[in-house]
Subunit: 368 residues, 2 copies
């Protein structure tokens, strides 16, 4: 029998994650495997799983570690990777994604995880959860392997929208501060604004305006603003949070992934070159695996949608069990910390503070 | 004695490269070392060297391989890396950069090479050489290590301007075709337009318009248009030329460099981890060096300024002798092929063709 209650409750007061099990490239199996993996590591997680009821029941029943830890909600429809966002807006109801977001809206769960279509997920999230007061454009934040002490930087927006004006960038900075605190445990994160140079005269007009606004904010919001940063600083230890518009952020993210792939391919070819290099690769295996682990994107799988009344995590469409489990781990951590409420409070206070301060001190601030 | 003739001529009819010897991070020594290295490999290159006459004479006289192959033009002033472009425009005259471009304008040399400030070099190039007819925005094209057969893709613009409209992007595509032919020897290069997704509805309006225009051009201009590409495709074998605006291109380029640096650092750390891994690194040394060579950015040092009446190559500011020599090699190759004239002819014919064709077939083309 499929559990299909509309008021899913667990008898124990554990942290509940809402999971859209359908819509990823690898189907429901990888997602359920990821849930099982997370459940094995952290027995305190509970799930509401959304998707085809019969299929989910079959997959979940096979994994004893998930017993009594999952409530299934049947949703007959699935949004595939190639559906246009505009079509999703009209026909989203009844899909597993719609249902997963409903569990957040109805406060059955704190955080939702989906491997589905990013544009569809953002569109439906805006409809079902609505934006946090004061936020015009939500953003997607990701963790980026870096030379930092914590091993990762935050970058936002990486593709919620293709545009961002100065006010949006300023709000991204505030949201980034909140995420760096709750996601990375940094007390006083360093924020940088992505540009084509670090000098004040470089770049587009909206970046100059945002530079002034964030400089003013930094004084009242307990973060450090390092000013403009360049593409080369993204994986560096110069900053903890990189702020940019969704077009530039998306291109940068994918360029970084592509470059890492190129280096990996060339390395494999170099080690396959001769019998001697093949022997060397056996000896180097442990070291190379250690390196690969430190920059493995699956370990930090999960773009977080910021600026909505509820936290949504977009897992990579092609995520395997390890990737899905990483996204669930992040979801659990943010849920435990009451991240949604903290972020809303920070943005509200940041906007309030800067309305007091801005623009009186902005020109002065720009020259410091 | 310093040679300081205004009509520098070599008695033999060799290819002459104009070199701005000053203004790089490592001073004149690295640049002269690079010239000597090139001269050792290719005895057919002749140089006009611009900079402090006394210093240049001293440096050049020390290298016998440069004997009778260099004419020195004295220029007392140097543009440093931190001068604002606007200041350069007012005070550029009398600098080594100004002088190096003068040799192109006066047809004493075919191609100029400089390690100086990019913004200043582009600004002075536009003043001294002027734009090719039909080109509103010149672009900077670089070679990017890739999984292609030729090992490199072309990307433009990587920072001549922070803006580009649909017409500019279309012209970038035509210039990219010309550069791929003459710089990489590709007969029928594949062109891609950088976006946040490959679907037709993704991205900014000017990208949709440019997509239509380039689709129409491809039919009459003997190149293949693969449509939208993503950041991950830049180092791939899906395309040969990536077209984008200078803001996005600059961020992508630096992000790629930063990512490669991160991977390299993590690899070094992994091999320094234990005595055993240190032994493994000795055995892996040849393989790693082979890999590093294939993706070494110094091998393809040189951003080429396209769209001016003359070809200018911007070498990396921190280039060593190997880097400078790579830029000179590229300069020689382009000079030998009459690249400036070929590019101008291609753009003129491309614009002519598309004026005949566009917009009649554009809407149809957009849907193919």
């Amino acid at each position: 029998m499929v559990t299909s209650t509309t008021d899913a409750q667990f008898s124990d007061s554990k942290t509940v994650i809402s999971v859209d099990v359908m819509g990823g490239d690898n189907g429901a199996v990888s997602v359920v495997d990821g849930m099982a993996k997370s459940s094995g590591i952290n027995p305190d997680i509970r799930f509401i799983a959304h998707g085809d009821g019969e299929e989910l029941k079959r997959l979940i029943d096979r994994r004893s570690v998930l017993r009594d830890r999952v409530v299934i909600k049947h949703a007959a429809k699935v949004i595939d990777m190639h559906t246009r966002p505009s079509q999703v807006m009209r026909n989203g109801e009844g899909t597993s994604m719609w249902s997963a977001l409903g569990s957040i809206r109805d406060r059955e769960a704190s955080v939702a995880v989906s491997c589905g279509n990013t544009g569809a997920l953002m569109g439906l999230s805006m409809i079902r959860l609505r934006r946090t007061p004061g936020i015009k454009r939500p953003a997607i934040a990701i963790l980026w392997p870096s030379l930092n002490l914590q091993g990762f930087n935050v970058m936002l927006d990486v593709g919620a929208d293709i545009r961002a004006d100065a006010h949006d960038l300023k709000v991204f900075a505030l949201m980034g501060v909140s995420y760096a605190r709750n996601g990375l445990g940094l007390n006083r994160p360093r924020i940088g604004l992505l540009n084509v140079g670090t000098e004040n005269h470089k770049g587009r007009p909206e970046l100059h305006e945002a530079n002034d606004m964030i400089t003013a904010d930094a004084r009242t919001n307990d973060f450090e603003y390092v000013g403009f940063v360049e593409g080369g600083d993204i994986p560096s230890d110069r900053v903890d949070v990189i702020v940019t518009d969704g077009f530039t952020g998306n291109v940068a993210l994918k360029t970084g992934e592509g470059t890492a792939l190129l280096v990996g391919t060339r390395m494999r070819q170099a080690f396959e070159y001769s019998p001697l290099s093949r022997i060397a690769s056996l000896l180097a295996y442990t070291s190379l695996r250690r390196m690969r682990h430190r920059i493995d994107p699956r370990r930090v799988n999960g773009g977080v949608f910021l600026g909505l009344n509820g936290t949504v995590i977009k897992s990579h469409g092609a995520a395997d069990a390890t990737g899905v489990s990483a996204a669930i781990k992040l979801a659990f951590q943010l849920a435990e910390q009451g991240f949604t409420e903290r972020l809303a409070a920070r943005v509200a206070s940041g906007i309030q503070n800067s309305q007091d301060e801005y623009p009186a001190q902005a020109d002065e601030a720009a020259n410091t």
